[in-house]
């Protein structure tokens, strides 16, 4: 596994906003099938990495390859079609649609949106959407309008829409932020179960170290635009430097 070609490979990424270096020579490989957590202080550039890998920000230097092909310079839409999905820190749902319709639209986006006459909720897509929502534990609120959900359900629905596109790589920006503490582990367990069953590779930005320890195969520590440490959670989180510089800041922030 370790000598196989990585799914996503970033080399020498540099991007500065004004004087702030969000990425200052980032080298990072994402292996097939792994769950990679990115941790680090606020403003370190973790979300910037997701934005660069999905085509929303263009690094000033460096390259990113996905499945061996360079993807820098492709439009976000083209990158989605190649199989990189993402979810958002602030869930991006169609607020006036039902949860079911949100899921069905994501399915339609993959299967063919350009059909002007047959209904979106045709039996096969409705079943597929229902099945998807079921896996995320959202079946009970399928007919609710998306703007009536609580934050935890919105986060899950947002991720479900990304999963509906059947990406081979899923990038998640703080999947548990803003969620009540009691709900947090429930969300994490749902995610681990669903994502493991699909075999998707996942990268997620996270602040909660309990979530990271529970979820991640590897952890990358992003600090001042560089990868300060990379390895299994038990190893990285035990590192005194990481504990002082990253976890200390993160937990007291």
């Amino acid at each position: 596994m370790s000598d196989a070609l990585p799914l996503l490979s970033a080399r020498g990424l540099r991007l500065a906003f004004g004087g702030v270096k969000a990425a200052d020579g980032i080298d990072l490989d994402v292996r097939h099938g792994e769950f990679l957590a990115i941790i680090g202080p606020n403003g370190a550039g973790k979300t910037t990495f997701i934005n660069m890998a999905t085509g929303y920000l263009r690094p000033q230097a460096g390259r990113i390859e996905f499945e061996g092909q360079p993807i820098l310079g492709l439009s976000p839409r083209a990158i989605v079609r190649r199989g990189i999905g993402r979810s958002f820190q602030l869930p991006q749902l169609f607020t006036e649609h039902t949860v079911l319709e949100n899921a069905a639209l994501a399915i339609a986006a993959r299967r063919g949106i350009w059909s002007p006459l047959a209904p979106l909720l045709r039996p096969r897509w409705r079943d597929e959407a229902m099945e998807l929502l079921d896996r995320f534990g959202l079946r009970g609120i399928a007919e609710s309008r998306a703007d009536s959900l609580n934050e935890g359900a919105r986060k899950l629905a947002d991720i479900a829409m990304a999963v509906a596109l059947e990406p081979s790589l899923l990038l998640m920006d703080e999947p548990t932020s803003g969620v009540a503490a009691a709900e947090k582990m429930l969300i994490v367990e749902t995610l681990v179960r669903v994502l493991r069953s699909t075999g998707v590779t996942a990268v997620f930005v996270e602040h909660d170290m309990d979530v990271v320890a529970r979820f991640a195969d590897r952890v990358a520590v992003w600090s001042q635009g560089r990868i300060a440490a990379l390895g299994p959670p038990a190893e990285v989180l035990a590192d005194p430097v990481v504990q002082r510089d990253v976890i200390g800041i993160a937990t007291h922030a």
Binding site: N51, Y56, F88, L90, Q92
Partner: protein, 311 residues
Amino acid sequence: MADWFAENGLLLGLALLDGLAYAALVFMVAVGLNLVFGVLRIVNVAHGSLFAIGAYTAASIGIFFASRGLPPWMSYVALVLAAVAVGAVLGPLIEKLLLRRIYGHEDVLQLLVTFALFMILEDVQKLIWGVQPISQDTPLRFLGTVDVPFGEDVIPFTAYQLFVLPGVAVATLLALAWFLRRTLTGRVIVAVTTDKEAATAMGIDAARIMLLTFTFGAGLAALGGALASPTTALVPGVGAQTIVLSFAVVATAGLGQIEGAALTSLLIGLGRSIAVYFAPEFEVVVPYLIMVAVLLVRPQGLFGVIETRRV
């Protein structure tokens, strides 16, 4: 080329002078539209109607003054009086009765509400002033004409259009820039424009600022109309034309740009008046051609800044 100038030079000179005067009027309306949008986040479709009502009111007051035998210089007082009256009456009325109900609503709803207001004001204007052309050009005649040297020729042009209109526009631009940047109220307005929530959190009475800004913007539109009234016969339909034209200026310049709006007014004013003299069929088309051409190349407008996308 030389032949063309020999034949059309005078016409071109006239077009430039006319364009300058016209640009001054367009600027007065566009800058108010822009300011109101910046603070209220509503593009007021009825803004052009305030211009039209300002023009009619100025003409009516001017005619009334003349009928009382007041001296001709009083017609200038009529212009200012009209602008103040329209701004002070219609401004608060519209803001308090209508706009206040729809702040923060869907964009499409805000558009429809100001569009409905536009339909109403167009007919209010027709009911009060009728559909027959109204002229009141005392301010224009009072100052007489000036011989403007142009190459070897001279062009006689009214002093009112040559000095008063551009003068008021430049004064408005300077006063506004000074007001927004140097005075407390001005800075508060800018603060509300930039971040209403933060401004409110700092204890700024945003509702009052919005009322003030709308009233002031309405007054500017009315002043533009009042200043325009001596130069043309007033007929229905001027409101629709004005709003589309001033919107063209604002869209071409980029929303929120005051100095940019001045330059763009000049561009569109000159473009239109050159069309008036050389291709009258396309008079109405030219401003939009300029707007479309600019927006094709720079969707955010000539001077606009792309709003950073928040994900």
